[in-house]
Symmetry: C2
DNA sequence: GTCGCTGCAAAGTCTTTGCAGAGAG
DNA sequence: CTCTCTGCAAAGACTTTGCAGCGAC
């Protein structure tokens, strides 16, 4: 809630602190695996599938040998705590990203799968208006635009 | 391609015609099952899961006994032909709706699952702008707003 | 008639769960 | 110490596929 421009500036310590608080509040334990998962998400600009995250962690912390089941369990946990958000684009399954960042929406390349993020104040405002008009109390939203990225356009598809 | 304001007025005959054309163009066959699926989607305002559609068809045409596999196969077919669009909201799996309607977005009630549709010209325009700015060629988009519908708000949650 | 379509059931994916030992608090 | 986590593997849920007979054209 500080600057509007801190997309990724919320630092890791901060995030980790939040995580530990949430764990404590719920009588849950802080484990190496859980930290590795949080860190993996933090250090990746990508939107990760559980499997991708699993690979990532296996590479960075091979000694841990964290199991895929733990990844799934932790991701659900993180999602319940609102620390991560899950997205599901088309058929490609569920992907996760840190939810602590500023709210943003996604543009997805149909060819190469590239995901770009953006924020637009006007759209956000409009969404509130529309939701109210329909009598809803807005909680959240997600928006995806599908297209062909500059790169793939050049390649001529 | 006619009027911009024919959200649901594109009648069934029309749709069926399109479907038959597409089938013909691709050397595919028009079958009772395929028609039943198209009709099921047409007659439902809902966004249907493959399983829901299966149930629906079993009720309407019990004699057909259309198998779930056929539903999946036909839905993919219809999706490839751009006659239907698939959505995936959160964890609840994939849902399908007729894509021949005017483009629209969705507001979803987190409590009861009610889905309302809406269209907003300004947002559509903005989306084009943003996409261009990022160098993408926009093909499609989807937007979901999550909230609590009027009804559920009254019930006090 | 030909060749694609269908239903069934079997095979795949992806995700979740049960359990016994390991580890955080 | 206690009580939660973890890894493994088995179980589930959801989709897709192979096959032999059926049906559109």
């Amino acid at each position: 809630m500080q600057s509007e421009f801190n997309e990724k500036t919320k630092d890791y310590e901060n995030l980790l602190g939040d995580f530990k608080d949430i764990l404590k509040k719920n009588n849950l334990k802080f484990t190496v695996q859980r930290e590795a998962i949080l860190e993996g998400l933090y250090n990746s600009d990508e939107h990760l599938s559980p499997e991708a995250l699993h690979h990532l962690i296996q590479k960075k912390n091979p000694d841990l040998g964290a199991g895929i089941a733990t990844i799934y369990r932790t991701l659900s946990l993180l999602e319940d705590s609102n620390l991560v958000t899950s997205l599901s684009f088309g058929a490609s399954g569920k992907k996760y990203e840190l939810g602590a960042k500023q709210h943003h929406d996604h543009v997805i390349c149909n060819e190469c799968g590239l995901i770009q993020e953006f924020v637009d104040e006007e759209i956000e405002k409009k969404q509130h208006e529309i939701t109210q008009k329909l009598g809803f109390k807005m909680l959240d939203h997600s928006m995806q635009i599908y297209g062909i990225c500059a790169n793939c356009q050049e390649k001529g598809i």
